[in-house]
């Protein structure tokens, strides 16, 4: 009996040893992802693991809101996931914080299929002569319209900000419904910039002498605040938008799905989710949505060229496996099978996309009416800090906490301070 027990012990020890050796041969890396397509990404990672049996990838998820700060904190103490999904505009900050590895160094582990030049918005990943992230997906915002509400109100599709306001008033008067509603808290940043850009202003611009200056006057800023405040003051949009952060907030999405709202501005992936939700709730029914380019002002409509970047943590112990994962995530099949709500940030893949007719506004916007954040990033102020002070200042103006002039003056003072620093 004793001998049998000893044999069993020896066998189990040997087995455990073998398993330990096999586990040791396995490379474990972590990928942190912020979008909602978690199940799809897990399926994609399963495919990656099947093709690379020596690499196991743990999928971590975090909200966009916490993503940047969490990674910066972890990175500063030598921790954090191996591959991280960030916004285009954070890449330079991550490089400055020495939190990520340069692409030039990572490409030693394997070249990209169409070379790094095939990626768009690479200027946003550049810092001190190197590139610090791989542009992953590209997006921008465009206008979305609910065609049946427009018909009900007898309103033509607006093309300018003024027409949008007039159409919203008509819709309210004739149907009692909301015309244009927007997230008036954190992400008011986007429509505000589109409004300013299409009226020839911007928060920061190049001064022509190699420096940077404020590119908007107090009057222009107060006018922009006044424009968006009109929707709230006249009851054209519900006051609750003051506490809405995101364009995909359930209150905004539900109003569009129910046909209680005619216009919205949103990014590509939100629109695709909206279309999917409508089709799921109304199978076989024609889709009453269309997209158009953003509203114009005195000049042509413009939106930002945004998107997501993949970066490799400078603390990673497995840079080769991490880069292999980045290459897989940037490959064409990923966008065709798994990450389908996003457009790839690669010229070759973008040219191959077949848009639905409802998405043609986004296609046109992306192709002809986008710009990068330009001087906002190049001036050293950074998009993130500028975004924060702007959304707070607009919040104080739109809610009535401050007068338009006071809020505009305060914001300009903040931007001036940031430029000085």
């Amino acid at each position: 009996m004793k001998r049998t027990t000893l044999k069993a012990l020896a066998l189990s020890t040997a087995l455990a040893g073998l398993m330990a050796v096999s586990a040791a041969a396995e490379t474990n890396i972590t990928f942190r992802f912020n979008d909602s397509e978690r199940e799809e990404l897990r399926a994609a990672l399963d495919e990656f693991e099947a093709a690379n049996p020596d690499i196991k990838v743990e999928l971590e998820t975090i909200s966009w809101k916490d993503s940047r700060d969490q990674f910066l904190r972890e990175s500063a103490v030598g921790q954090g996931p191996d591959v991280v999904h960030i916004a285009f505009v954070w890449t330079q900050e991550m490089a400055e914080a020495q939190a990520v590895l340069p692409i030039e160094e990572l490409q030693d582990y394997g070249a990209l299929p169409n070379s790094f030049d095939d990626f768009i918005a690479t200027d946003l990943t550049a810092y001190e002569g190197q590139h610090w992230g791989l542009p992953w997906s590209a997006d921008t915002w465009a206008m979305v319209m609910r065609t049946d509400v427009l018909e009900e109100a007898g309103v033509a599709a607006p093309t300018t900000w003024d027409e949008l306001l007039t159409a919203s008033r008509t819709i309210k008067e004739t149907t009692g419904k909301t015309g244009f509603a927007f997230p008036a808290a954190h992400q008011v940043w986007f429509p505000v910039n589109y409004y300013l850009w299409s009226n020839g202003a911007e928060f920061i611009s190049a001064d022509g002498n190699g420096g940077y200056e404020i590119g908007v006057s107090q009057d222009q800023l107060a006018a922009a605040m006044g424009y968006f405040k009109t929707y709230i003051d006249e009851g054209l949009a519900p006051k609750s938008i003051l506490s809405i952060d995101q364009p995909h907030d359930p209150a905004l999405m539900q109003a569009l799905l129910d046909g209680d709202q005619a216009f919205a501005a949103m990014p590509t992936n939100t629109y695709r989710q909206l279309l999917g939700a409508y089709e799921e709730a109304n199978p076989g029914q024609p889709v009453p949505f269309r997209s158009t380019v953003m509203m114009a002002g005195d000049s042509a409509p413009l939106t930002h060229l945004g998107g997501r970047t993949l970066v490799v943590n400078s603390n990673t112990d497995e840079p080769e496996a991490a880069w292999k994962l980045v290459q897989f995530l940037a490959s064409a099949p990923l966008f065709e099978k798994y990450y389908t709500n996003q457009f790839p940030a690669q010229k070759t893949l973008l040219s191959q996309i077949e848009y639905r007719k409802e998405e043609l506004g986004f296609a046109k916007q992306l192709a002809d009416h986008t710009r990068t954040w330009g001087a906002y990033a190049e001036s050293g102020v950074g998009v993130g800090p500028l975004w924060n002070v702007t959304s707070r200042a607009f919040g104080t103006a739109l809610s009535g906490q401050s007068s338009l002039d006071q809020a505009a003056a305060d914001l300009l003072g903040e931007i001036d301070r940031m430029l000085d620093h």
């Binding site: 904190r73 914080a97 808290a185 006051k239 609750s240 506490s243 209150a251 809610s399």
Partner: protein, 306 residues
């Protein structure tokens, strides 16, 4: 060397306290001193590896002279702390008196009433805020539906976005979630009041209010005093309720010191400046605590109770 019994006792006490002392140094004193050091630098979240540069009192000066400081201090001291602590102390006392009364006892409702009172306290603050945000929701929230159905309002109220309602909404959540602790603590104190005192009061012809004023309240004062101090410190430093309910908005209308610390550190990335606000908060609370004990000293109160 032979140690005297007194010395042996002292060494034993020291040896037993030493681990706790180490924990306090590691988890309280060191972070406090480190935070103090950071507050004199311009360190940002992007410069954590490189470290910040010494800027002396610049962060403190900037915060104290900032145009938004008064607004933030007013929100913290008046709305978040004074209003919510006052309401919760009054309500807590009311609940304690009700739970200790014969009314509930005669209806055999004492146990169930005490359990019901504990439900909000057992609800984590995050869950409480989410539940209340849903109740306050303008389009589908039950509160707006009830008010509309009863004809009390014509249009839904954006409770957490309207300047007129946002602070009362936050205070409602804080009071709902925290009053039970006050109620239960005061109930425990109420049960220690000797019955003979009430009998003596009755013989002297005291009415109900006089009984409460001259018998019950003096007995409760030490507990009320400690609960008030704890509530003030805890609420003054609280971040969760405001941040989860409004994110310090609309605009910066509900910004308080704790949310300003977060905004400056993790939104604007200015760790040094944020640390200076944290140190200022600690100083304010330290001074408040010292003054509070000076004017409402517990030992005096216990003397008064006898």
């Amino acid at each position: 060397m032979k140690l005297s019994p007194l010395m042996r006792d002292r060494l034993t006490v020291f040896a037993m306290l030493f681990p706790t002392f180490l924990v306090l140094v590691g988890f309280y004193l060191y972070p406090t001193l480190y935070n103090l050091e950071l507050s004199f630098t311009d360190i940002t979240l992007l410069k954590l590896r490189q470290g910040g540069e010494w800027v002396g009192l610049a962060n403190y000066w900037e915060f104290l002279t900032s145009s938004s400081s008064f607004h933030i201090a007013f929100n913290t001291i008046f709305w978040l702390t004074a209003v919510s602590v006052t309401i919760r102390m009054i309500l807590g006392l009311g609940f304690a008196l009700l739970l200790n009364s014969n009314v509930l006892r005669n209806m055999k409702m004492t146990t169930i009433a005490r359990l019901i009172l504990l439900v909000p306290w057992a609800t984590p603050p995050v869950v409480a805020v989410i539940a209340w945000r849903w109740l306050f929701e303008p389009t589908n929230g039950p509160l707006n539906r009830w008010l509309l159905n009863f004809g009390l309002i014509d249009d839904p109220i954006a409770f957490t976005a309207d300047l007129a309602t946002v602070w009362p909404s936050i205070v409602t959540i804080v009071v709902w979630n925290t009053t039970p602790l006050i109620g239960v603590s005061l109930l425990a104190s109420l049960q220690t009041v000797p019955g003979e005192l009430y009998e003596a009061g009755e013989i002297d012809g005291a009415n109900r209010f006089q009984m409460f004023r001259f018998v019950t309240l003096p007995y409760l004062m030490p507990t009320i005093s400690v609960l008030t101090l704890m509530s003030v410190i805890w609420t003054f430093n609280n971040f969760v309720y405001v941040w989860l309910t409004t994110g310090a908005g609309p605009g910066t209308y509900t910004n308080v010191l704790a949310t300003e610390v977060y905004l400056k550190a993790f939104v604007d990335l200015r760790i040094g400046y944020s640390a200076a606000i944290g140190v200022t908060m600690a100083i304010v609370m330290g001074v408040f605590g010292a003054l509070y004990f000076r004017f409402f000293g517990l030992s005096d109160m216990q003397d008064k109770v006898g």
